[in-house]
């Protein structure tokens, strides 16, 4: 069994981000993905494997070919991951603002 890979490490790599951008535009086979890169095909396959393991890509058997699709749900999770952090700061700053407004009124 594979250890679940860290999705943020997965997208830290520029080649993998390019792969995601390609597949986002159109679902395609590993061969079609590899043809967009100068990198050796096994290297591209390794990147695809990592993206599949962390569920950013899903694979679908289509006859003799495997088609890779983007998993929009997982991509959304990445976009959302910053929100709790942002909310934490926003609430902290709201508190700061209301404390200082009262402070001003006391003067």
């Amino acid at each position: 069994m594979n250890l679940r890979r860290d999705v943020f490490q997965a997208i830290a790599d520029p080649t993998r981000r390019s792969i995601l951008a390609l597949v986002a535009a159109q679902s395609m086979t590993a061969g079609a993905i590899a043809s967009n890169f100068d990198t050796a095909r096994p290297t591209v396959s390794k990147h695809i494997q990592i993206l599949t393991e962390c569920e950013l890509l899903t694979s679908e058997q289509n006859g003799r070919e495997i088609i890779y699709h983007l998993n929009p749900q997982k991509m959304k999770e990445i976009a959302d991951f910053i929100e709790p952090f942002r909310k934490m700061w926003d609430e902290r700053f709201n508190t700061l603002e209301s404390i200082m407004k009262n402070y001003k009124n006391k003067d």
Partner: protein, 151 residues
């Protein structure tokens, strides 16, 4: 409701920017960072030390049920009234290395001000880990408590 706080964390960088505009004059916004008693109120922490000058140091400690649950400290590298604070930030008892923080305070009009915090991390991985931290159960519980206190 739209959050007033913006976070900019570009991929593949080891920094992040937190920006927020306040309906407060610049002096009051700065005072919220300068005055230990006020910091204690909005950060919901105890200020052990806050030496607001170049080469000064600071230390905060947050307790719950008599136990210290969070503590952080650092040194102040620059302190310019109503303009900027540059400091280090180190979370105690955590694997996170020291981070560097640049706080910039600006006036953006009548009784309005803006705070920009640039945080620089030892690596991209540490930055991403920190961003994910509010997901951690303990912290989110502490956070819920915070919300209850203020609402």
């Amino acid at each position: 409701m739209e959050l007033k706080t913006k976070i900019k964390a570009e991929e593949n960088t080891q920094e992040l920017f937190i920006t927020r505009e306040f309906d407060l004059p610049l002096e009051l916004l700065f005072k919220a960072y300068e005055d230990a008693e006020i910091v204690e109120q909005w950060m919901n922490t105890k200020v052990i030390k806050l030496e607001n000058h170049k080469h000064g140091s600071w230390k905060f400690e947050t307790s719950h049920d008599g136990q210290v649950v969070f503590s952080a400290n650092g040194v102040i590298l620059e302190f310019i009234q109503n303009e900027k604070i540059t400091r280090t930030f180190e979370m105690e008892n955590s694997p996170f290395p020291v981070q560097l923080e640049f706080l910039t305070f600006e006036e953006i009009g009548n009784e309005k001000s803006k705070l920009t915090i640039q945080q620089i991390f030892k690596s991209i991985e540490y930055r991403n880990q920190l961003l994910k931290m509010p997901f951690a159960k303990g912290l989110s519980m502490a956070h819920d408590r915070l919300q209850n206190i203020f609402h």
